[in-house]
Symmetry: C2
Subunit: 193 residues, 2 copies
DNA sequence: ATAAAATTAGTACATTTGTTCTAAAATTAG
DNA sequence: CTAATTTTAGAACAAATGTACTAATTTTAT
């Protein structure tokens, strides 16, 4: 593995386990037995490492979204499998979600990027819900605002289920992902026809 | 105002506006024109300031909870007014929620305290839902797990609506609180009979 | 009024951290 | 094979930061 990839892998692991504030570039360098100078040759600024990792997260999400859009029809099973894949990606880059506000504050381009990604996904979700109402999967007796609020709720839960676990659950790995798969899919339950 | 109170007020303001990582004890001291030595006379450790602010948040929440429990009956209006008051308290101490994972990591007693508070509130919520099902406010056709998941959702949204706003909305003050009052009350909508 | 206690300012120290610089080593290209 | 380029190590620097220390000042108690 190239040094640059080694750095990213080590950084991801350390950030995920110890957070972005306790981990310094020296920690990362030491963990893969390279010098601080070498690390800064590959990443001039520390934040460039975080930025790169965020970009990868964004790309992996985008791939999921595009796969979803390519499907001819969206039903509950599809929604569930999409949610499962999203959870896996989010877990892989969990430090970002666990420190999302700080990451977005430290690296303004991340906030900008997230905002536009979010806006895009919001319209996508709303369109999808409309379809699911029309084809009789979802209820048709609820006022429109309720669906808008559901979208907001989904984003909050989707972005912060890991923070919630960190505070009260402390599950890890598959157990954690399975629990929140359930939590997220339960969000749709009372909306079913 | 006593110096100790001045420090806490200044810290709250600065933390809320700039986060806990950019603000140092020197910033706090300078903002109220006292020396660093004086600040550390009142708070030996920086984290003691955060700890004290968290304790106040916890107390204010406890007061709300006790007021709620003292009421003879709980209906939707009561639930809504409780949610409104919670939102105000959470906004007042918003830096804690915006950096919840880091705060809980840095100050272990906060994590411990939050966990037990959370467990207590979970049973309270579940009992309340049971009552609302029995008196016909909530639906009685849903499986029990759905209510458990609703409780989880409520905590996630309740703890992280501010982080969500920080990432995508950036509303402030009343506008912000009013929006999330709606988001939170909309969570109950599809559960109504 | 005076002694004791509490508060405050200011300095200083040790550590950490991001980053830069230089020279050596390794790799690549011609 | 040799020159150019890339990569690496290691030292060094400057700024920041939490905290301790000391002496002065203010407040409180008697």
């Amino acid at each position: 593995m190239q040094t640059k990839e080694k750095i990213l892998a080590a950084a991801l692991k350390l950030y995920n386990n110890k957070g972005i504030n306790t981990i310094t570039t020296r920690h990362i360098a030491t963990s893969i037995a390279i010098s601080p100078g070498n690390l800064h040759y590959h990443f001039k600024q520390t934040d460039d490492i975080i930025k790169t990792l965020y970009d990868r997260l964004a790309t992996e999400f985008d791939d999921l979204m595009q796969a979803l859009e390519a499907l001819p029809l969206v039903d509950l099973a599809v929604l569930r499998s999409f949610s499962r894949s999203s959870i896996e990606v989010a877990y892989k880059y969990r430090f970002i979600f666990l420190h999302f506000v700080e990451v977005a504050t430290r690296i303004p381009t991340i906030r900008t990027h997230y905002k536009s990604l979010r806006a895009r996904r919001e319209t996508e979700f709303k369109a999808m819900f409309k379809k699911l109402i029309q084809n009789g999967t979802f209820r048709n007796d609820l006022p429109g605002e309720v669906w808008d609020e559901l979208v907001t709720q989904i984003f909050i839960v989707g972005d912060f289920w890991q923070s919630n676990n960190e505070l009260s659950g402390r599950l890890t790995g598959d157990k954690l992902m399975m629990q929140y798969e359930q939590t997220i899919s339960a969000m749709f339950f009372p909306y079913l026809k």
